[in-house]
């Protein structure tokens, strides 16, 4: 409790209690209750019902595809994010600010629009899609399209986590390393990486959560073909529209579980970063 500290605005007990109660109430009703609902609905048919729903063939296929997409997306955006952060925080050059602004674009674009962007380009009638079609390569309505669109949507995350951290740390240690004769790779591996470990980890966790949960963009490009191009979020939608509410929430509970792990991971990372 705030003893031994100068009194500040809003510190008096009545105000404090009211505000905390209000905040806690709204949060509980608005943010916490949904988690309760997910569990309640998912287990409405008991444990056996839950397991049955999870092990449903199409759901398993959806889980597999979702994991596969994440497995491809995360390393690619990780590598890009690291290069981008290195470029933008360790060098000065004209256009640096513009480049940094460009990373935020996927953040601001509606997922449906994102999906459409790729469909127009790589679909059967798109510029690139048409050319690829001649070689019988189909990207849209197949897993490559899902991966590409997921990369679009998740590419800012790692860079946005790394850039403030690397900017704040400054390049002194790297300069010292260069004077002592380290090569680029040695510098990154032994000097930079240990300093950005936790921010990098959190960026990866965020990217993964977003890659797994992407819905709007994937809706547009996947075609929702059960068993083939259905990701877990799409499966949730399909089950819900089939009026299989319990099944939908069972699948949703897996995604909610990943979300909770993400939140826990963030707390751990923040706690580790605060330690000197």
């Amino acid at each position: 409790m705030a003893t031994g500290r100068a009194r500040r605005v809003g510190d008096n007990t009545a105000t404090r209690r009211t505000l905390i109660a209000l905040a806690a109430l709204i949060t509980a009703l608005f943010l916490f209750m949904p988690l309760v609902v997910i569990i309640a609905e998912a287990f409405a048919a008991g444990w056996s019902g839950y397991i049955g729903n999870i092990l449903d063939d199409y759901t398993l296929d959806a889980i597999g595809l979702t994991l596969f997409v994440a497995l491809l997306t995360v390393p690619i955006t990780l590598v890009f994010g690291v290069f981008m952060a290195w470029l933008v925080t360790r060098f000065q050059f004209p256009g640096r600010k513009l480049l940094t602004a460009l990373i935020d674009i996927p953040f601001a674009v509606s997922p449906i629009v994102a999906g459409l962007l790729y469909l127009l380009l790589y679909g059967r009638n798109g510029w690139i899609g048409e050319w690829l079609g001649r070689y019988d390569i189909q990207l849209m309505f197949a897993w490559p399209g899902i991966v590409m669109v997921t990369i679009f949507v998740t590419c800012p995350f790692v860079a946005r986590e790394l850039i403030p951290v690397m900017q704040q740390q400054g390049s002194d240690e790297e300069e010292a390393g260069v004077v002592l004769g380290a090569s680029g790779w040695q510098l990154f591996r032994r000097v930079t990486f240990p300093n950005i470990r936790w921010a990098l980890l959190y960026g990866v966790i965020l990217t993964n959560a977003r890659a797994v949960g992407e819905f709007g963009a994937v809706s547009v490009v996947s075609g929702s073909i059960r068993g083939q191009t259905n990701t877990l979020p799409l499966q949730v939608e399909l089950l819900y529209q089939d009026a299989n509410v319990v099944g939908a929430f069972a699948a949703a509970s897996l995604l909610a579980g990943i979300a909770l792990i993400t939140l826990v991971a963030k707390s751990i990372v923040e706690w580790r970063q605060d330690r000197p």
């Binding site: 605005v9 608005f30 209750m33 509410v245 939140l263």
Partner: protein
Amino acid sequence: MQAEASSISSSAAKRVLPGFGLSLGVSLFFLALVVLLPITGLFIRAAGMGWEAFWFVISDPRVVAAFRVTVLTALAASLFNCVFGVLMAWVLVRYSFPGRRLLDALMDLPFALPTAVAGITLAALFAENGWYGQALARVGIEVAYTPLGIIVAMAFTSVPFVVRTVQPVLEDLPGEDEEAAMSLGASDLTVFRRILLPGLWPAIVTGGGLSFARSLGEYGAVIFIAGNSPYISEVISLMILVRLEEYDFPAASAIAAVVLSASLLLLLAISVWQERSVKRLHGA
């Protein structure tokens, strides 16, 4: 600018830290391929329609209604989040109490939770037979299948934007300003209104702007609770999908081009605003 240009040509080969060429190459290649190319493609497609066809699509009454519904609901949701966000940031920064960490972590839930999951959950909660839906029905308020439901969904998904933007600013506000005001006899509310709020204002506007931009394009969380009746509770992202399902690619592109331009302009406005307020508060 001249000195900068000459320093590039003379010292381009002499940068101290290694990896400039490689990281520039990778970043430019990736951004061009993943971000710039598709966006350019859309704008060229939309431009290729010709002005008349473009206008015809955009001015279709159903599309206009969708724009109106989306903008108004996004606005309402962002306003709610501005208030709620400041409240939450205040409570999390100023007070310590058991459960504070949990409350803090929950603020990120909408960010981490897939929108489809949020969608069906909110729909289940606010439907006629849902826990909240039942309670609200007794007071005569209908949420599901109305624009109110859209506002709820948009508000949920963009909670983090205002809270997380205001929190750090609130943490860094100097305590001396408040103490000076209090010592001069101002009441708590006055100090908040005239000393603290002006300092928080840029963060609130930025967070609200981000929240608005996000809500404009929201799809997954909205479609389950909205009811999606044309002219009443159909959002613009759904409108694009509808046109796509009709195989009307030009129409879908036209609408998407408008939405994309709005998002990019908003993004630009927010970053310009941010830079200006940083300059004003901390000097250039």
